[in-house]
Point group: D2
Chain length 292, copies 4
C-alpha cells in the first residue's frame, strides 16, 4: 500500500465483548489525532457512550466508504467482515481481543503498532482465495454468497444421514451417505474441515478441499481439486432438515434436488498479517505442536 | 429354548414397505396352520386387507403377550422392537426384506427355515448388552430409555460446536468441543460410532464406547471403558439447539447443564442369529472387506 | 499389601541415565537404614562407585529374590521389568527420572514418599493384563514371551506391504495388506496402537486390541475382541524382511506361513500407582487434553 | 501428438510375469507390420524365445531411442519407467496385464486399440508433476532422483520411532516423532500416502503432500503446500536403521543430520490415458466407492 493512502478506517466488532469498551474510545481518539476518519458498526457503537453511540452504520456502508477495515474480534467476526471487504477490495486488519485465532493473528497489544505499520504502508498482506457458493433449485439461483472458509451441507440433529451426489466439472465423482459435506478454501482447511478429518492446506495452494462429515462408507476420504474446478453437491432423497451453511454465518434450508455449486470467487480477501510470523508459526501455536 | 415353548408370535414391521404385502398374508396362514397365535402392529396391518387390517395392536401390548418377536424390516425397525422385547425378556427373530443389516442378518429367503428352527428350539441366540440412558435436569430424571446401539448428543445444523464435560465414575475425563458425542454399546460400535471414527468392538467385550463427532481438539480419540462404569456427559455453555437422540428413535431437546447418564442396562436383548454365520462374516460383507 | 511384608527390594534402571548417579547412592543408604535389602542390575551398578559397582545381578535373579521391584526409568525400562515381575507375582513401583510416562507415573520427587507408602502397605495397586505371545512355525513354538503393551508384526523399511490373515478363535476375519499389525492390551492401547490410529481402552476392559498399520484397504479399522479370545495372525506371501517385535524389546525375523498367536496371559502385572491420580488424569497430561 | 510421429516404441515389462509370453511375440509382429521399430528390456526379453531373447537393451538406452514407451505391468513397473521417460520427454502408454492400477489404466484387452490411437495421435495425455528428491549429507548431495509418487523416510522394523524436523522454504514447521514421513506428488496421493491417512489430491493441483506415518503426537495431520515450495526433512537423533526410499524403487541408508530436500522436478511425465475415463472413474473402481 502507498503510505498515507489510508484516510478512512471502518471498525467492525464482535457483539457483546466487554473488552471493547476499554479499547474503542481511546482508539477513536488515536485515529482522530492522526486525521483518520473512523466509522463503526452497531456492535462497536454498543460499547460507546454519549453521541457516538448513535453513529453506527451498516457494515456494507462502512466497507464502501473505507480504505481499510479494522476487525476487533475473533475468527467469526472476521468471516462476516471478509465478505464486505473483499467485495470492495479493501484490506482487513484483524485484531483479536481474546485468544489468538487462525485468521486474527494480531493481539490487543499489537493494535497500535499494527495500525501504524498499516498507515505507513509497511505491513504485509496475505491474499486469501474465496469460494463463490450458489444454491440452485429448479433451474434458479436461490442464494449466492462468497465464503472465506467453507460452505457446509449438513443434516439437523434429529435427521438421519443424508445422501449427496458429488460432481466435479460435471463428472460424477461419488454418492455420499454422510452427516454432511464441507467444501472449503485452503484458509478454511484449518477450521471445520480439520475437525472432520481434513488435511492442512497452505493458503498458497490453488485448491478446493472436499471433506465428508461422518461418512458411512469407510473408504471416503477428503478430496482436493484445483480451484479452477467447479464443485457441485446435489441433495438426494427425502431429507426434512438439511441446511446449507455459509462461513458459519447464514443457514438456508435445502430441498431434495437442490444443487450447491462452488467455484473460485473473483474477489480475494486482503488480510494484513504480522510481518515476522510465518503461517506455520500460527499453526504450531493453535495446534500445540512441538510441545510433546 | 425348549421346543414348542413358542405359542404366540408378535410381528413388527417397517412402515411403508411394499414387499410386506407379498409376505405377510402367507406368513399369517403358515403360523395359523402350525397353531401359533400371531399379533401384529399398525405398520404390518397397513399391508393387509379385509378384517385383518383392523386388528393391529400397540408394540408394547404385542411384546407382553408374545413368546417371540418377528421383526420384518431393517436395523431401524429392530432398534424400535429391541426395547420392548428386552423389557419382556423374549427373543427377536430379525428378517431383512431389503439388504442385509448388521443386526438383521436373515434375508426374506431365510424366513420359514429360520422360523422352523426357532419353533423347534434349534436356533442360536446372541445376548446383546444394552445401555440405560437417563437425562437429568435440575436434579430430576427428565427422560429414561434403554438403547441397543447408542445415545447421541449432537448439535443442530445451524448451531456452532458444543461443549461437553465427560465424567467416568464421577472422575472428570475431559472437556470436549465437538459437533456431538456418541456413547455406544459394542453392538452400536458398527453403527453411527463407526462413521464418526470409532473402532469395531465385538459384542462379547463388556464395554462402553465413547466417540466424539468432529472434535476441535485434534488429540481427541474414541475411549472405551468397562460396562461396569457410569458414563456422564454434561452440556456446558449456551447452545440453543442440542439434542439427545436414543437409538435414532427419539430426540429430546437439551438445556445447558443437562446431564446424560449411561450405564449397563439390566436387560439384554436376545437376538436370534443364523447358526453358521460368524460375527466377522457379517462384518466382512457389510464393510466389503477382502474384495480388494 | 501387608505392612512390613517388603524386606527385599530389587532396583532396575534405564541404561545411561546421568540422573541415576545423583539418586542411587542416597537411595541405597535410605533402604539400608530401614533394614531393607537392596539388589540392582548392571545398568544401576554402572552409576555407582567403589565396591557396589561390582554387585550387579541379572534381572531375573533380582526378581526371584525381591518382594518389590523399583524401576527407575521410562516406560521402556518398565516393559523390560514387567515380564520378570509378573512371572514372580511381585509389584513394581515405577519412578520416572525424566518426563512422566503413561506407565511410570511417579516422578523423582515422589520417590521416597512412594517408597514409604509401599513399605507401609498404603499404596494402590493396578492389576494390568498381559498377553501371551507365541510364534509358531511348522507346528513348533519358535518363541514365546508375555507382553504388557503389545506384539507387533511389521515390515522392514525397504520391504513393500505385507499380507496377513487374521483369525479370531479360529474364525477367519480378514486378510490385511498393511505395513504391519499391532495386537495390544488395554495398557498398550495408549502406546504404539494409539499412533497407528487405535482407540484409548481403559485397563479394566477385558479385551485385546487389533490395530492395522497403514492399511491399504481403507475400510480397515481397529478391532477389539474379548480377552478370552485367541487372536492369530498368519504371515502370507513372500516377504523377506518381516519382524515380530514384543513390547519393543525383542525382534524375531518371521518367515512366510509363520503364525503369531496371542491370548490373555495367566500372569498379571501389579503396578503401584499414585493413590490420588486417576487413569484419566495421566491421560490428560500425556495427551495435552483440555489445554485448548 | 502428430500422427505418424511415432516410429520407434520401447517396451518395458514387469519381471516374471507369465502373461507376457502370451502377449509379446504377437505384439512385436503387430508393430513390425506397421513399420514400427521395437526395442525391449531384459525382463521383456526373458519371455521371448530364439534370437529375440538376446536383443534386450538397458532401459535408459531404450528411452533414448524411442518415441513412446509401452509399459506392460503394474504401477511398480510404471514408476521405474517414468523416470527414464520423463528425462527424455517421451510419453508412456501403460497397459496392465493383471488388475487395474491407479496409473496403469489400460487393460490387456485395450492394448491394440490404445496403440492404434497413440499411433494416429488420437490419444489423451495427462501431464504428471514429479518431485526432485535430493539427499544431502555434510554439505554434499549424496543421492538425487526424480520421483513420480513419493519419497519416504522410514525406520526399520526393529528401530523405535524417529525424529524428523520439517522445514518449508527454510521455515521451521514442526518436529515429528513418527515411524516415517511421506512426501508425495498428487499422483502419489493415492498410493502410500493414502494408506498413511493422506487425502486424495487431483493431479492438476500444483502441490506437495506431506503425510506422517504413525505420528506419536496425535495432532499431526497431513500438510499440503504449493509445489513452488521447497520441502526439507532433517533426521535428528541417533537412529541406526532409517532409510530414504524413492518411488519404492531404491532405498538409501540415512545418517543423523541427513537432509532430504524435495522440490518440483523440471520434467513431467506424459501419461497416455483412456480418452473416455475420468480420473474419478478410476478412483471409484480402485476404492470401491458407490458399491455400498
Amino acid at each position: 500500500m502507498t503510505p498515507n493512502a489510508i484516510k478512512r478506517i471502518g471498525i467492525i466488532s464482535r457483539p457483546r465483548r466487554a473488552d471493547l469498551a476499554a479499547v474503542l474510545p481511546a482508539l477513536l481518539r488515536w485515529l482522530k489525532e492522526r486525521g483518520i476518519e473512523a466509522r463503526f458498526d452497531e456492535e462497536s457503537a454498543s460499547s460507546l457512550e454519549g453521541a457516538a453511540a448513535s453513529q453506527a452504520l451498516p457494515r456494507e456502508t462502512i466497507a464502501q466508504s473505507s480504505d481499510l477495515l479494522l476487525v476487533l474480534g475473533g475468527d467469526g467476526t472476521l468471516l462476516a467482515a471478509a465478505r464486505v471487504a473483499a467485495a470492495r477490495g479493501i484490506p482487513i486488519l484483524p485484531v483479536n481481543l481474546g485468544s489468538l485465532g487462525f485468521l486474527t493473528s494480531f493481539t490487543a497489544a499489537d493494535l497500535y503498532p499494527a495500525l501504524e505499520d498499516a498507515l505507513s504502508g509497511r505491513c504485509s498482506i496475505s491474499e486469501r482465495a474465496m469460494l463463490s457458493a450458489e444454491l440452485h433449485r429448479g433451474g434458479r439461483v436461490i442464494d449466492k454468497r462468497n465464503v472465506l472458509n467453507e460452505a457446509v451441507v449438513n443434516k439437523g440433529a434429529l435427521a438421519r444421514m443424508i445422501e449427496l451426489e458429488l460432481r466435479i466439472d460435471a463428472d460424477f465423482v461419488c454418492r455420499y451417505r454422510v452427516d454432511g459435506l464441507i467444501v472449503a478454501t485452503p484458509t478454511g482447511s484449518t477450521a471445520y474441515s480439520l475437525s472432520a478429518g481434513g488435511p492442512i492446506v497452505h493458503p498458497s495452494v490453488q485448491s478446493i478441499i472436499i471433506t465428508p462429515i461422518c461418512p458411512h462408507t469407510l473408504s471416503d476420504r477428503p478430496i482436493i481439486v484445483a480451484d479452477t474446478s467447479q464443485v457441485e453437491a446435489v441433495l438426494l432423497g427425502e431429507s426434512e432438515s438439511v441446511f446449507l451453511t455459509l462461513d458459519g454465518q447464514k443457514g438456508i434450508l435445502m430441498q431434495s434436488g437442490d444443487q450447491v455449486r462452488l467455484a473460485r470467487a473473483q474477489e480475494k480477501l486482503k488480510l494484513i498479517q504480522p510481518p515476522r510470523k510465518s503461517y506455520f508459526e500460527i499453526l504450531r501455536s493453535k495446534l500445540k505442536w512441538g510441545e510433546a
